[in-house]
Symmetry: C2
Subunit: 285 residues, 2 copies
């Protein structure tokens, strides 16, 4: 079940590539984008995963964030999966922009009809890294993980649950306490059922609460949050709730509130250089 | 007939903005994107126009090229018009991707039914700069102009015909000798009629031929061309034809053939930093 390349475009001395492949975890074809930096021609390179937000595909970040420039500078491979299974013919999968296709929330669904295909947590944490390692000359056992909004939530939970797999974690405007916001409650109810006890395992704030001296495991987490972000005002993101939990658990966190910035890719483009440096610094130790 | 702002998003310390306005030249509403760099808060800034290629709107470049980063670094305002009138209800305007809407070729059409609205040369060279000067605190009488593909052709002809208005010219994969390629012949026949004599005034190669000691007027022109560009192979771009004319006319030209690069925004993103530096260097003299 290897990667099938659909296109390859030279950029910043390396190549931006698009792939599809059969996913066992999700029991369907999945799409992803990869940026291979020029350094990969000479030696193995570390990998940074980027998880995108609601409604995105594997293309938004790779087309709009300007990340290749920095990945080429620091010699990091970027791997950008799609945000959900596509076209798996589940009733209602395309009806809402915040649930179903484009809105997996990176969990393993237990509820019907989603459970058969929506196993995005296993896909991101197990299947995809194994596929990347078998397809590219990857440096190191651990990767970096970053994400935006729903994907910021994804990056935080994948990182916090798997310090053996991820050496560095960062996020843009993450849904940082999904059990306490409308988006998260809707998604978790649909994918995991109505018992909030079952949600804690996919909630970054709850995961941090359950650790003592978390920082020794996870290193410092970097989060950028635009202060003019409408979803911040709508209480969907709750970074301060996550920050309070980090403080209690001795988890080092750099939460930067960026005045005037919104939730868009213009915000991500402005600060992605800092995030890539954050991850590259961990790999160069 | 001022600019009507439709959105404003903070990026790289400045703001990316979208506007519409009533155009007298085109006798319809037109859209444009503007990036105002952070330096504009303290002092007037020079302007760089970017003309986009076939099928593009005012959004492609501003979303995908990553230009804001460099414009913020050098303190340049970016102005990106749409590539044609839209929705003016001409028969066949939306039938072809290389003619009509999204494909004005930046000429003043003389043929019906196009002549009423497709006056994009006057729009870009006269109306838009005057609108920008009355709406923003602009530094200097002359601007820079850059473009891609059809817009590279546009940048070259606007620059070569108006050394009093443009201090610096550059292009990505321009249609550099439109009278000699299929795209240009189709467009010029449709907009200007079937007499090739009438095309020369909108053909960069022909314009250069008519100048002696051109370089003293225009300064050095920068062109980047990807060697893996399918349209180069298809003989639509003909940079070497333009280069030969420049040599005859003593027009300094830096034509960089970039191995492996195609015609896409990944190519533009890779080299836009060099182009913005090229323009900024002229303004900082």
């Amino acid at each position: 079940m290897g990667l099938k390349e659909t296109s390859r475009i030279k950029s910043f001395g390396g190549t931006t590539r698009f792939y599809s492949h059969r996913s066992e975890a999700c029991d369907c074809d999945m799409n992803l984008a990869v940026y291979v930096p020029p350094q990969a021609e000479a030696a193995p390179v570390p990998v940074l995963y980027f998880l995108s937000g609601l409604t995105c595909t594997e293309k938004n970040f790779i087309e709009k964030a300007g990340a290749q420039r920095y990945a080429a500078e620091h010699g990091l491979m970027l791997v950008v999966p799609d945000t959900s299974p596509r076209g798996v013919n589940l009733p209602g999968e395309d009806e809402a922009w915040d649930f179903g296709s484009g809105a997996s929330f990176y969990v393993n669904a237990t509820q019907e009809p989603w459970a058969k295909h929506y196993q995005m947590y296993d896909y991101v944490v197990q299947e995809l890294p194994s596929l990347i390692k078998s397809s590219f000359d990857v440096k190191g056992d651990r990767a970096g993980i970053c994400g935006h909004s729903m994907g910021g939530h994804g990056a935080l939970i994948c990182g916090l649950k798997n310090p053996d797999k991820y050496a560095s974690v960062s996020a843009f405007a993450p849904i940082a306490a999904p059990s306490q916001c409308a988006w998260g409650q809707k998604a978790f109810t649909g994918y995991l059922g109505s018992d909030p006890q079952l949600w804690a395992d996919y909630d970054a704030t709850e995961l941090i609460k359950s650790h003592q001296d978390a920082g020794s495991k996870f290193g410092s987490i970097l989060i950028d949050q635009g202060e003019a972000d409408q979803f911040l005002k709508d209480q969907q993101l709750l970074p301060e709730t996550f920050a309070a939990a980090c403080q209690q658990a001795n988890q080092p966190l750099t939460l930067r509130l960026q005045p005037g910035y919104d939730h868009s890719y213009y915000f991500i483009a402005t600060f992605i250089g800092d995030h890539i440096r954050h991850h590259a610094a961990v790999f160069s130790v």
